[in-house]
Amino acid sequence: MAIKKILIANRGEIACRVIKTARKMGIATVAVYSDADREALHVQMADEAVHIGPAPSNQSYIVIDRILDAIRQTGADAVHPGYGFLSENAAFAAALEKEGVAFIGPPVGAIEAMGDKITSKKIAAEAGVSTVPGHMGLIEDADEAVRIAAKIGYPVMIKASAGGGGKGMRIAWNDTEAREGFQSSKNEAKNSFGDDRIFIEKFVTQPRHIEIQVLGDKHGNTLYLGERECSIQRRNQKVIEEAPSPFLDQATRKAMGDQAVALAKAVGYHSAGTVEFIVDGNRNFYFLEMNTRLQVEHPVTELITDIDLVEQMIRIAADEKLAFGQADVKLNGWAIESRLYAEDPYRNFLPSIGRLTRYRPPAEGAHEDGTIVRNDTGVYEGGEISMYYDPMVAKLCSWGPDRTAAIEAMGRALDDFEVEGIGHNLPFLSAVMQNGRFREGRLTTAFITEEFPDGFHGLAPDTAAARGMAAVATLINDRLQRRATKISGTIGNHRRVVGREWVVALGSEAIAVTFAQEGDASRITFADGGTASIHSDWLPGQTHATFFVDEMPMGVKVDKIGYSLRLRWRGIDVIARVREPRVAELAKLMPVKLPPDTSKMLLCPMPGLITAIAVAEGDTVEAGQALATIEAMKMENILRAERKAVVKRVAVPVGAGLAVDEVIMEFE
């Protein structure tokens, strides 16, 4: 059958992504949208759009009947589910089948089989897929536990069947520990859960998350498109993915690929799917689960294989045969994906919502140096990041001939990405690109907790970076000062002459420089005699520009704040003050002030009515978290925590009318 019109049962970047390919293939598209998405990008991009209900997804995007209504209304003959929402919902796929509409995804049976954790493991084991070795049966006593542990091979994890939250869980590296661990787990399990059944499985050390992309048609052809490594995660949320994995060798890749294909065949799979493995430090790999949909991180595979996965899914759904075989799949170069989340890294990654007052992604496509940048997004400048859906703003991908080139390209692309109005993780992503361990490819799923144990507070510039930033600040200052002297009304012949000597204060560090214009470029001489050349097209008012410092391009974000400059580059976020040497000397006399003591009370900022209290006594609140809502002049104003604190007392009930500065709650 030929597909003429696709309805995308999704929103955000993935809906936009599918529309792009459909348009390329000459297929009409239908978007669906909730109340919160009336002005969303996917609605603007699609040929038709159908409203499907209120903002919460359980009243819109995941209501099967609403989607079916939209299909009937528009006459769509196929549905792409994207990821999330209804993408792995067997009932939805079945309903479409009944409706006679093509589901651009796997068969119902495969969704069902892989949707259940226990069934999927069983099928995988039967298909010859490597699963985590373990003993599922009941274990009588410590002796038996030791025997089983030795058979599995150390280290092992001893777990309570009913366990959770780390309770009743022990890791054993030898017989003695296995014996002790079994006893203590059993006791703990009995006390905590009243169920002392214990099982033992292989403990995977230095675990990495590596997954295989499979693709199969309805004619029995199934192949794999290499792997993606997704080890950089925060609280099980993937943050940075890449393809290929820096860890796999050709033999392991093939072994994993073959097993993934075997599993797909075992469940009669067609369309795109992903088989997730956990891989240990010795390249032993074990099956985790199979995702029967297009993955968020699919673009990295597309970049190294040059295969459009959405196009293949559509062709497969239209009963076409795969036009290529396993031997035709070549992995070319390296691709990295950074997920830009509306999460504030300086506030412990608290979700941030609001208006995108600025959204300027870096230039996409092939760059002069041979690298490629791709940005998948569903937002635009002036758009709203709402509280109803996941906080992903964009997926920024880079491709380079090798891993280092891809990382460098990503670093530059992140520097050139301007996002304002919401808190977001751009500086954190930049910091990961700078991280030595990341650059060496020594990843595990614990990477973020190990490398950023105290959270993320911005990178401190090293000597070279500080000099680069100082050079940038000096050039900007020179342009601002020169322009300032061109004001009208000066007394002729007595105009201000802009000096060459400056002192740049970056945070608490002071760097003395001499500035000299040399043709199109400028030369900065540092106090120790070192020099740097710098040139840039930056003009006053520009919030981003590329500065060439000794010909190295630096994409710096520039904000003028009063008399100082905020500069952001490569995860560094500093305030630079450029002053004449005499003023800089006097500045040393200025008192160092501690940050003002934010009061331990939430005071009412305006006369109004409390319409909601969002926290309870004893709650721990993060900076930026909503505390209470006040209605004043018929407007709802949300009051947020200024910093992390514990709520000691809520002083007023909902419905209370308050005057300015009345206490709403107190903190400990």
Binding site: E39, S488, R496, G541, M590, K593
Partner: protein, 510 residues
């Protein structure tokens, strides 16, 4: 001749030392700069021309005859800020606590007279213990001479006061009569009577900082227009402000090369107004989007936040902005916001600075406190200021313009030259709900009927077209083209001339 030159140098060196190294060190120890150091930061390097360096007082009582220090506690003269002339005085706390004597006052009066004659602003850096008690009434007379000159210079040249230490008693009234007051956080205070007297008279126990610190005057009393962390940051910001101001009332606002396309379109403004009229949005985003290079110098940022006042540039030239802020009290007018905006509008009009007014106002704030506080007269100040202004005025209504507040916020009727509205504007006597409740009081029991009436009212009045049909709005513009349209409107008004009828002066409702 050399010995004579050396003598001059020696006298200068002595004067430069002010109250001596020990007192200079003490001043530094408090995190404060000396009077001359402050001028070095404020003025272009090497531009300061000092006058009256050798002036000393003539008092003899209370052992004063032996305490003569060259300069007598104040450094005066002129210099430039980015090449534009400014007269300055800087009180020297190291000399008798910067106290004001008859001669100290004379030095200030001298440069004020020169400033008025030559048409250049005055910036005063205040750091003084107050009147020089040893001189008695001569000192008080000195203050009064300064006060009178403040009044005479008002509206002729801009006057800026920077409070960089104590400023108490009669001393506060000179800054109070100037156009701008800036303070240094934690090291300056202003009050008429200090904490000790307050305790004796009213039994209130209060610190100097609580009574008259930068926090008090920027958030509560609105005496100050801004406060900064330390001496240097404060003086740097005064330099920034100075670049927005004309030199005198015959001068045009300054013009500076700019690097921002006046026709720049801002697509994001098309989504600035939220779906629901009860949802706030940040008016500052619009100000920054309109301004050249996103550069905005805000005044009284922490007082009466329901209205925003400050300077931007359009095509390189200063424009004063008054804007309702829907984020605070829905952007309503009340006593504080009316006074704040009125003061700002008067200054702009006195010094030929065009005024841009951005309107989203639901009306005046109701309440007993407001009425008892005289909101009628305070609101009238803003109405009066706008009605009287003759500078080019452009008004843009973004959303609500209800009731009397519509009239007040630079409506066509009171003298604005070009009035624009976004298609989201609602220009009406009041909100639809309130209006239907009055118009259809008898139907109030029937929620369905009332809802229908409300919809009917919304459709009829919740738009800019009723006003546009009458010519009260010159054009309904696309939000994304706001910068371009406003810049062109001001460009068209550059030749504006208004002849005023002779009068001694108006009687603004004070």
């Amino acid at each position: 001749m050399r010995p004579i030159l050396e003598q001059l140098q020696a006298r200068r060196d002595e004067a430069y030392l002010g109250g001596g190294q020990k007192r200079i060190d003490a001043q530094h120890g408090k995190g404060k700069l000396t009077a001359r150091e402050r001028l070095e930061v404020l003025l272009d390097a090497g531009s300061f021309e000092e006058y009256d360096m050798y002036v000393t007082h003539r008092a003899v009582d209370f052992g004063m005859a032996g305490q003569k220090i060259a300069g007598d506690g104040v450094v005066t003269g002129w210099g430039t800020i980015n090449g534009r002339q400014v007269y300055v005085f800087s009180q020297d706390f190291t000399v008798l606590g910067g106290s004001l004597s008859e001669t100290h006052a004379q030095k200030i009066c001298k440069i004020m007279d020169m400033a008025v004659r030559n048409g250049a602003p005055v910036i005063g850096l205040n750091d003084s213990g107050g009147a020089r008690i040893q001189e008695g009434v001569a000192s008080l007379a000195g203050y009064a001479e300064v006060f009178r000159r403040n009044a005479e210079a008002s509206g002729v040249i801009p006057q800026i006061s920077v409070i960089m230490g104590p400023c108490a008693g009669g001393a506060v009234y000179s800054p109070a009569m100037t156009d701008f007051i800036f303070m240094v956080r934690d090291s300056s205070y202003m009050f008429v009577t200090g904490p000790d007297v307050v305790k004796t008279v009213t039994n209130e126990i209060v610190t100097a900082e609580e009574l008259g610190g930068a926090g008090t005057h920027t958030k509560k009393s609105s005496v100050a227009d801004g406060a900064y962390e330390n001496d240097i940051e404060t003086l740097e910001h005064v330099r920034l402000l100075f670049d927005f101001l004309p030199l005198n009332n015959r001068d045009k606002p300054p013009l500076r090369p700019f690097h921002d396309d006046p026709a720049r379109l801002e697509a994001r403004l098309d989504t600035l107004i939220p779906d629901s009229s009860s949802k706030p949005y940040d008016m500052k985003e619009l100000i920054l989007a309109i301004a050249d290079e996103g550069d905005f110098f805000e005044l009284q940022e922490n007082f009466a936040k329901n209205i925003i006042t400050g300077y931007i540039r359009l095509e390189g030239q200063t424009v004063g902005v008054v804007a309702n802020q829907p984020m605070v009290l829905a952007g309503c007018l009340d006593i504080d916001s009316s006074r704040k905006a009125a003061k700002f509008v008067r200054f702009c009009d006195a010094f030929n600075i065009p005024i841009l007014t951005l309107v989203d106002v639901p009306g005046f704030l109701p309440g007993v406190a407001q009425e008892y506080g005289g909101v009628i007269k305070h609101g009238a100040k803003l109405l009066f200021a706008y009605s009287q202004a003759t500078v080019p005025m452009v008004t843009l209504i973004t959303r609500k313009a209800y009731g009397g507040a519509y009239d007040v916020m630079a409506s066509k009727h009171i003298g604005a030259d070009v009035n624009y509205a976004w298609p989201t504007a609602e220009i009406a006597v009041m909100g639809a709900k309130g209006a239907t409740e009055i118009l259809y009081r008898s139907e109030l029991g029937d929620t369905e009927k009332i809802a229908a009436r409300t919809r009917e009212y919304e459709e009829r009045f919740a738009n800019p077209f009723v006003a546009a049909e009458r010519g009260f709005i010159d054009e309904v513009i696309m939000p994304h083209s706001s910068r371009k349209r406003i810049a062109r409107a001001f460009a068209s008004l550059r030749g504006k001339q208004v002849d005023a009828r002779w009068r001694k002066h108006d009687t603004i409702p004070l």
